[in-house]
């Protein structure tokens, strides 16, 4: 795994989900691996849901990588896609989407970090703090995907925006 501390961008990783709902906590586990293997990367936040306060954190980053579990797709599938800013409409402020966090970031802090969402397909969202076997294997995949994303950002700042990575 590449762990060279030579990346100039300020990277923020925001992992969200409920670690007591089995595969919904996969992002937290991936975040722990990112902290361990990509220590050079910068700040890693684990949270239950996206709230307005994260806009301020995001405003201090050049790139924000959101990690989340999804109920769609084959279990264990990992997908990376760019996040575009969404103008905020009427919504409940307890939980936001990644696009809304970046929208809030732009509106309140006049900052426009690049955003990417890495979605990991889960299988079981029942009570529990363990991942399904197929989802366990997605953890190293998502870490590798983050590393690959950073490598590509380093070589070309917009590569992922034009061509979302899919693993």
């Amino acid at each position: 795994m590449n762990s060279e501390n030579k990346f100039a961008d300020r990277i923020l990783v925001i992992a969200y989900g409920n670690p007591l709902r089995s595969d919904d906590g996969v992002a937290w586990q991936a975040a722990e691996e990112i902290r361990r293997k990509l220590a050079f990367l910068g700040e890693v936040i684990c949270t239950h849901q996206l709230t307005p306060e994260l806009a301020e954190d995001s405003s201090r980053a050049d790139t924000v990588i959101f990690l989340d579990a999804t109920g769609n797709g084959d279990p264990g599938k990992v997908v990376c896609e760019p996040v575009s800013v969404e103008r905020l409409q009427a919504c409940f402020s307890h939980h936001l989407t990644p696009a809304q966090v970046l929208g809030l970031c732009k509106q309140l802090y006049q900052a426009s970090p690049r955003g990417f969402l890495i979605s990991i397909s889960g299988e079981c969202f029942d009570h529990g703090d363990e991942l399904s076997p197929r989802v366990v294997s997605a953890v190293p995949q998502s870490v590798a995907l983050v590393n690959d994303l950073l490598r590509r950002l380093k070589s070309s700042s917009n590569c992922c925006e034009s061509q979302p990575a899919i693993v």
């Binding site: 684990c46 239950h48 301020e56 905020l88 009427a90 919504c91 409940f92 402020s93 809030l104 309140l108």
Partner: protein, 475 residues
């Protein structure tokens, strides 16, 4: 003969949890009764039976995602009583820091995220815009202040407890880890900005009061008792002290009440139409023993805050009325004064020479079979009462939550607002929002008080005398 009708507001929006409001009309279409129904049920008191008492703080923190710290503290204090230990002085101070940080973040959520749309955009604003995001379009600095203030509190909680939600750092006998110098210094660096936000927010809020004279007059503006915890010198406290009750004229009705004997003077009544129990002051009976808790009550019972800026604001607050400050609309201002106090007090505690001590936990086995822990949560006084067996397993548990203690007052406030603003069989947004806004003033946490899972939602129903639904508004 004309029919009696009922208006139902279901769900109530911009609060923590699920509820509905029913407004009962007489034959002339005037509101004759109103009820605030809490429609969610949890049952923490029951399913913790049989668990080891040492698990209680962590289990109880799961009651709420907004104020887990209050439950942690009250629960740990109940467990301290079971251990019959005096916790180390530094852990006492660290718990205070933890609690104050939570009051800041919870009050900021209530005022800036939930109630500021009413205060800034007006009670009659377009409901599609009447939210934090509507505020940030027109008042971005205020929205930033709210977000930053909440973050300030959350970061302290995260630094001490390891995470923002459901931290498990407060344990029976103290806290699990000492405060590091790095974390202490990092928190201290954030104090000046938090203080500046608190000061300018109070200036802003006081400047808006003139526009809300009608609401101040009708939003829960009635005589009641007020209860809160005070220090020996009558000063404001969130962690420890004795209970004081004052009446509407501001006179002390009861003083130095031991929170561990709450059952001697507080009763709870179950109503068939709500999962939320109604607490009352026993000597006055039900429902005359109606009392309020939370920021408004705490400031009504406190002689002083004990920090310079907050004391100035408290003195001004007490000037609002010669009696106790009665209107629940003033919960908002009280909340900001408490934020100011918390920030000032946090700075004092973080500069305490003992605060970095490594001795933060007393270890013991259970030495008592019954224990009560009480603390001032953001929304008011919180009691945890446990009984255990010889093996240390929970045999009985009772939780009295602030929102339940405000239940009678919230119901009376809804009635007062509805009688002032609701006319006829059709609801307008302005009417509906005012009925909701008075509930928001109390900042009820229904997840806590029903000891909820899922989305918050408000329904208002208009019912005929026979109970038929004539009109219904849902959000």
């Amino acid at each position: 003969m004309a029919e009696r009708k009922t208006i139902i507001i279901d769900p109530v929006t911009r609060i923590e949890g699920h509820s509905k409001i029913t407004l009962h009309l007489d034959e002339q279409g005037r509101v004759e009764d109103a009820r605030f129904h809490v429609t969610q049920f949890r049952g923490f008191e029951k399913f913790c039976e049989g668990r080891p008492f040492s698990e209680m703080p962590s289990l109880m923190a799961r009651i709420c995602g907004i104020c887990p710290v209050s439950h942690l503290i009250a629960s740990a204090k109940a467990c301290d009583a079971l251990l019959a230990v005096k916790i180390p002085p530094t852990s006492d101070k660290l718990r205070r820091i933890f609690g104050l940080a939570q009051v800041v973040q919870s009050h900021a959520l209530s005022l800036f995220h939930l109630s500021s749309p009413d205060l800034l955009l007006g009670m009659d604003a377009d409901p599609a815009k009447s939210n934090l995001f509507g505020v940030l379009e027109k008042y971005p600095q205020l929205a930033r202040d709210g977000i930053n203030l909440r973050k300030f509190g959350q970061q302290i909680i995260e630094r001490l407890g390891g995470k923002r939600i459901h931290p498990a750092w407060v344990v029976p006998g103290g806290v699990s880890n000492p405060l590091s110098q790095e974390d202490r210094d990092a928190i201290l660096q954030t104090i000046p900005e938090a203080l500046a936000i608190a000061v300018r927010s109070i200036v802003w809020l006081k400047g808006t009061m003139e526009r809300f004279r009608e609401e101040i007059a009708s939003f829960g503006n009635f005589p009641s008792l007020f209860m809160g915890t005070v220090k020996e010198d009558g000063g404001l406290t969130f962690y420890d002290g004795k209970l004081r009750i004052v009446d509407a004229s501001g006179h002390v009705v009861a003083n130095r009440l031991d929170p561990a004997r709450y059952f001697d003077f507080l009763g709870e009544k179950v109503e068939p139409w709500s999962y939320l129990k109604s607490a009352y002051y026993k000597p006055k009976g039900f429902p005359d023993g109606i009392y309020r808790v939370g920021p408004l009550a705490r400031l009504n019972v406190s002689d002083r805050c004990g920090t310079p800026r907050a004391d100035q604001e408290l003195a001004e607050f007490h000037e609002l009325q010669r009696t106790a400050v009665l209107s629940s609309f003033h919960y908002h201002q009280a909340r900001l004064i408490e934020i100011l106090y918390c920030v000032e007090r946090l700075e004092e505690l973080l500069n305490d020479p003992e605060i970095l001590s490594k001795h933060v936990r007393a270890i013991a086995r259970p030495n008592a079979l019954e224990g009560v822990g009480a603390a001032e949560a953001p929304r008011g006084t919180l009691f945890h009462h446990y009984k255990i067996d010889e093996q240390g397993l929970i045999r009985w548990c009772n939780l009295i939550i602030a929102t339940g203690q405000n239940n009678l007052a919230m119901n009376r406030s809804v009635l007062q607002v509805a009688q002032r603003y609701v006319r006829g069989e059709k609801l307008t947004h302005g009417m509906l929002n005012r009925v909701e806004a008075v509930i928001r003033a109390y900042d009820p946490c229904l997840s806590c008080s029903t000891h909820a899972v899922g989305q918050m939602a408000l329904k208002v129903q208009l019912l005929s005398r026979d109970g038929d639904v004539l009109d219904e508004v849902k959000r």
